[in-house]
């Protein structure tokens, strides 16, 4: 795997105060990398240094092996999509015009742009005929952020930067958009750097997760490794705090992640196994287990593993006191 983005001894000061002392990080090409941390941990600043929205105080960032300060800032930004929490669609442009912003600047032919717009809209489940000429103010928050994402990827950038893109959305839209990101990532294989403060989101989306605190990367690992071997109390507590308020609202996928799945299909009659999506809650799982022996956890209709009541009870016994 080749490296897409590399932080080398990056330092960042604000008004003479060092907020990021020495950041070193390598993100691979095609990776969906999540930066997670509490507010003020420096995750958003780190993200904005990649496309030079924030200048570095010291050190350097390499993008595809080239120091970002040696590339003209506009061509650097043209190869990076950007999605932000405030969505910030241009309010005077239609949906189509918003999506066309970067391809237009790059000089893509009009016909080609129009085709891309229609394809992308269809891909995120918005009928092009109906949505092309709408104004952003006529869309719901979830729809707006869909367009925000399309606008970022319309010119097929190698890298997409996302700064807490879903934290202002309602839970249902958030889930749908998380799925959308996974789908688009699977399809285009671009490198995504995704900043969030929501550990559930991080666990769901990330190939790897970097946990930040006080401008330092505490741990960088796969979701499973992070969940099973938190490097210190901060990381462990961060999981606890970001867990659902009520333990019964936790996703079953998370139980599997922490307790481990049964990977073999249990040898019982298939009628004794109930299928559940990874995003189903523990509550649903309990209901299912009252008249079934196992639950099969599926993600996009693919079985990722099996859980029985013992594992779920074990998870509960470890975490119940926190809730």
């Amino acid at each position: 795997m080749t490296t897409a983005i590399e932080f080398q001894h990056v330092q960042k000061d604000f008004n003479g105060q060092t907020v990021i002392p020495d950041l070193n990080l390598t993100i691979d090409q095609g990776e969906l990398f999540i930066l997670v941390g509490t507010s003020g941990s420096g995750k958003t600043t780190s993200l904005k240094m990649i496309n030079c929205l924030e200048p570095l105080t010291a050190g350097k960032i390499l993008v595809n092996g080239t120091d970002t300060t040696t590339i003209p800032v506009r061509s650097l930004r043209w190869q990076m999509g950007y999605v932000l929490q405030q969505i910030a669609l241009f309010p005077t442009m239609t949906v189509a015009q918003n999506i066309a912003v970067i391809p237009e600047m790059k000089g893509t032919a009009k016909k080609e742009i129009n085709q891309t717009i229609d394809e992308l809209l269809a891909e995120v489940g918005l009928d092009p005929k109906e949505y092309r000429d709408r104004m952003p103010s006529e869309l719901s928050g979830g729809e707006q952020q869909r367009i925000g994402i399309l606008r970022a990827i319309a010119a097929q950038p190698d890298i997409v930067l996302m700064d807490e893109p879903f934290s202002a959305l309602d839970p249902i839209s958030r889930q749908q958009l998380q799925d959308l990101v996974l789908r688009l990532h699977a399809r285009y294989h671009n490198t995504i750097v995704f900043v969030t403060h929501d550990m559930n989101e991080a666990l769901k989306l990330g190939d790897r997760i970097g946990v930040m605190q006080h401008g330092q990367l505490i741990q960088v690992d796969t979701p499973a490794a992070l969940a099973q071997h938190p490097v210190n109390d901060f990381v462990r507590n961060f999981f606890g705090a970001s867990r659902a308020k009520n333990v019964y609202d936790v996703y079953v996928g998370r139980v599997g992640l922490i307790q481990g799945y049964l990977t073999e299909k249990p040898s019982v009659a298939s009628g004794r196994i109930q299928s559940l999506d990874v995003q189903a809650t523990l509550r649903t799982a309990f209901t299912a287990l009252t008249d079934h022996d196992y639950v099969a956890i599926t993600e996009e209709n693919r079985v990722v593993g099996y859980l029985d009541s013992q594992r779920i009870v074990a998870y509960l016994s470890q975490h119940e006191e926190v809730s």
Binding site: R77, Y82, L84, Q86, A88, F90, P91, I102, M105, L161
Partner: protein
């Protein structure tokens, strides 16, 4: 209402001209203000300290009273359209600058950040993102400026730039409500109409907006080009002060000159302003000729002491010499009438008490009930001087000029001050008393022009000299009455007089 409509019909030609001038001045000012304020506002958006300073500056400019501003501009740029446009531009800066600045600087920071993150150039960001978002606010600033300009442009008439203000000034001057209303209503309608047009610009399809905008520019440009073209033929510009009397006179000048020399076209600028405006217009070649009073020359224009008790001829000779020496100007021979201060009584009162001169008043001192303007009562060359010179002992009630005539016609008072040619003398059947001790300075009208102009246009001089010694005070009162009260046009009245006195052939 009837008179309003009648006045409107009589004056519709003038109104159209005034409307056109008004529109021209207003739109030119607006465009210039936009060209200055919008780029400036865009420039300071990234420089908050400058922005603060400029906002303060434009606010201060806005607070200068418009009349004072016009006054300040006269010594710098003279009179006419230029100072009017400058003043209007200064007024229009604040709303346009402020709205553009706020419109852009209040754009959501996340939108600015997105535009940067997408690698937009400064210009692209400005035209694709910032200006479209700020547009409604900029347009509303332009509309505010426009309404402000059209209202303030009525003051342009004061410094000879014409426009609808001419009607308002005339209306005030002649106490003619119809004229005043026509001026005010047209100006208000113009403001509403243009404001709606600007709002339409905001929502119109860009192509339509462009076509209309270019159309308006072409129309105005065409008008300008035409006037430049029209000015190429030998044109003489004659202006007159505010009021019916100068307007009648300059119409006589025009008719006499055009009869004398067929190759000359005379443009009239009636109601052009007051003495000093006209005089500087003459100096700056904006005007070729205007009728001036001998008394005014001594009082306000020429430098030097003014000996008292001069005869009419002495006054004229002194004025003529000073103008020739100090200003290189030629002052032609004056007409007969003397439009000075005067004392008037009703004809009935005059006959009852056999009054001819001011001296005669001493005999009826005990029954005199004078009502006079505050200014006249207070001036040394007014009532104070009269009392001393003629040994008259009276106390006058101070009254508004218009009320004074009402009061004397109703018998509440029996002696008023007046100008010798006021149409009200005729209207209220008043008689003037002779100033037998030559107390009041003489105010005889005569054409004033530059000496260089007089030398180049002997035919014009010849034509104007035909009026020397003509027109008595009664003639002038009568003609003023015909224009002010009977609402006849100054041109008709002038023509009738010239024909009647054999100065012009019938049918011209």
């Amino acid at each position: 209402m009837q008179t309003l409509i009648q006045t409107f019909i009589d004056r519709r030609g003038d109104l159209l001209t005034a409307l056109w001038q008004h529109l021209g001045i207003s739109l030119a000012s607006l465009v210039i203000a936009m060209v200055i304020a919008i780029p400036l506002a865009i420039w300071v958006v990234r420089r908050p300290r400058w922005a603060e300073g400029l906002l303060q500056l434009t606010s201060v400019l806005q607070t200068i009273p418009s009349l004072a501003l016009l006054g300040l501009l006269i010594p710098l740029v003279g009179i006419g359209t230029v100072p009017a446009v400058i003043a209007l531009v200064i007024y229009a800066l604040l709303p346009i600058f402020q709205n553009t600045y706020l419109g852009i600087s209040e754009i959501d920071a996340s939108i600015e950040e997105t535009a940067d993150a997408f690698g937009m150039s400064r210009m692209r960001k400005l035209f694709k993102v910032e200006l479209p978002i700020a547009l409604p606010q900029i347009i509303s600033g332009i509309r505010t400026a426009l309404v402000l300009i059209i209202g303030t442009a009525t003051l342009a008439a004061l410094i000879g730039a014409g426009g609808l203000g001419t009607f308002i000034m005339l209306g005030i001057d002649r106490n003619d409500t119809s004229l005043l209303l026509i001026g005010a209503i047209s100006s208000a309608l113009l403001a509403i109409l243009l404001s709606a047009l600007v709002r339409w610009f905001q929502t119109a399809k860009p192509r339509h907006a462009l076509i209309v905008f270019v159309g308006i520019l072409a129309l105005l440009g065409g008008g300008g080009a035409y006037s430049v073209y029209a000015n190429r033929v030998e044109t003489i510009t004659i202006a007159g002060k505010l009021g019916s009397e100068p307007e009648i006179l300059i119409n006589m000048y025009k008719q006499l000159i055009e009869a004398e020399d067929e190759h000359v076209h005379v443009t009239l600028k009636p109601n052009f302003g007051k003495t000093t405006f006209l005089f500087s217009a003459l100096k700056n070649n904006q005007v070729d000729i205007y009728p001036e009073f001998t008394g005014s020359v001594l009082e306000t224009l020429g430098k030097g002491n003014n000996p008292a008790g001069q005869t009419a001829n002495q006054t004229y000779q002194l004025a003529k010499q000073r103008l020739a020496k100090q200003e290189q100007m030629t002052y032609l021979k004056p007409m007969q009438y003397n439009n000075t201060y005067a004392l008037a009584v009703t004809k009935k009162f005059q006959q009852e008490h056999h009054l001819k001169t001011i001296s005669d008043l001493t005999q009826v001192e005990s029954i005199l009930k004078p009502g006079m303007t505050l200014e006249f009562i207070d001036r040394n060359d007014g009532l104070k001087g009269i009392k001393k010179t003629y040994g008259l002992d009276v106390t006058a009630k101070s009254m508004e000029p218009a009320l004074r005539y009402e009061a004397i016609s109703k018998g509440k008072i029996n002696l008023v001050d007046a100008y010798a040619t006021d149409s009200e003398l005729r209207q209220y059947h008043l008689a003037l008393l002779k100033d037998n001790k030559h107390f009041f300075p003489t105010y005889q009208g005569a054409p004033l022009m530059k000496t260089s102009f007089a030398n180049k246009h002997p035919k014009v001089v010849k034509a104007l000299n035909k009026l020397a010694g003509k027109i008595s005070e009664t003639d002038m009162q009568e003609m003023n009455y015909e224009v002010n009260v009977k609402k006849q046009s100054a041109s008709t009245v002038a023509h009738r007089y010239l024909v009647k006195h054999g100065l012009l052939k019938e049918g011209r």
